[in-house]
Homo-oligomer: 156 residues x 2
């Protein structure tokens, strides 16, 4: 299986909000996503204010390649949680270093989307923004292991 | 704002399931995501079977660059729906051509993750898999415009 690389160009950057990488307490974090004015006009965000939430795909640019995990590890290094594969957890040291967060839309102004609860720091490259549609939420009951609930206890 | 390109390498491919790009009826679509055996061992998927759902980030490799929309358009070309920005809709002709789908975990076998309801066709490059944790679902009430519910009526 040969896998040709795919080249992506950030659509913009996270501006403001938290500037340090910290595990918890992201809930009240307010920031904006500023679209690149060389590529976009405010048209790109038209109508986004009619949605309460967006999904943001971003790039963990502070993670060095050498730290990427391709196998299994304890989430957050917690020995009391099971060893699980990198694709069974959401940690940032992952192949392709993609982050994904559902956050609240505060407002849209020109090329800026103001959000609350985006778990990406100031300066983070953003790759995509998608509106949350109820039809795209999980279909059927959501089941998760106990550690997955514990890890989120203080996250927001 | 200069935006250096980011190079990603697919972690694997979608195998099986639907092979034609069709807008609707994805709900019963069963396929597998086969991880690249040159990079991964089954460890990478360890514990994923304890989750009912995953989020899959993939690349719409069939969309030609010339078709990418950077401004606003009617979703699916429907004139009776409003003109909205490309980041206020989930269509595939979008900057960076990233797809994102929440689908059901059917099972894990070696380097293969079997899923149901993944809206990506056979052969699609996959960039990331994340487990759905209830703590990462939208916080607060989800609000969306009427067209967003209409567009999903026959999707699954």
């Amino acid at each position: 299986m040969t896998q040709d690389p795919i080249s992506l160009v950030p659509i913009g950057r996270v501006r403001g909000g938290r500037s340090e990488v910290i595990d918890d307490d992201w809930g009240g974090n307010r920031s904006t996503i500023d679209l690149d004015p060389q590529t976009f006009t405010p048209d790109a965000l038209a109508g986004l204010g009619d949605f309460s939430h967006v999904e943001v795909i971003f790039f963990f640019d502070k993670v060095p390649e050498a730290k990427i995990e391709t196998g299994a590890r304890h989430p957050r290094g917690r020995q009391d949680w099971p060893m699980v594969g990198i694709f069974a957890q959401r940690g940032k040291n992952r192949p392709n270093r993609l982050g994904l967060c559902t956050c609240r839309v505060v407002g849209v102004q020109g090329l800026s989307l103001q959000v609350e609860g985006l778990d990406a720091i100031d300066g983070t490259p953003v790759l995509d923004i998608k509106p949350v549609m109820t039809g795209f939420l999980p279909r059927g009951e959501v089941r998760e292991p106990a550690w997955a609930a514990e890890i989120m206890a203080d996250y927001w």
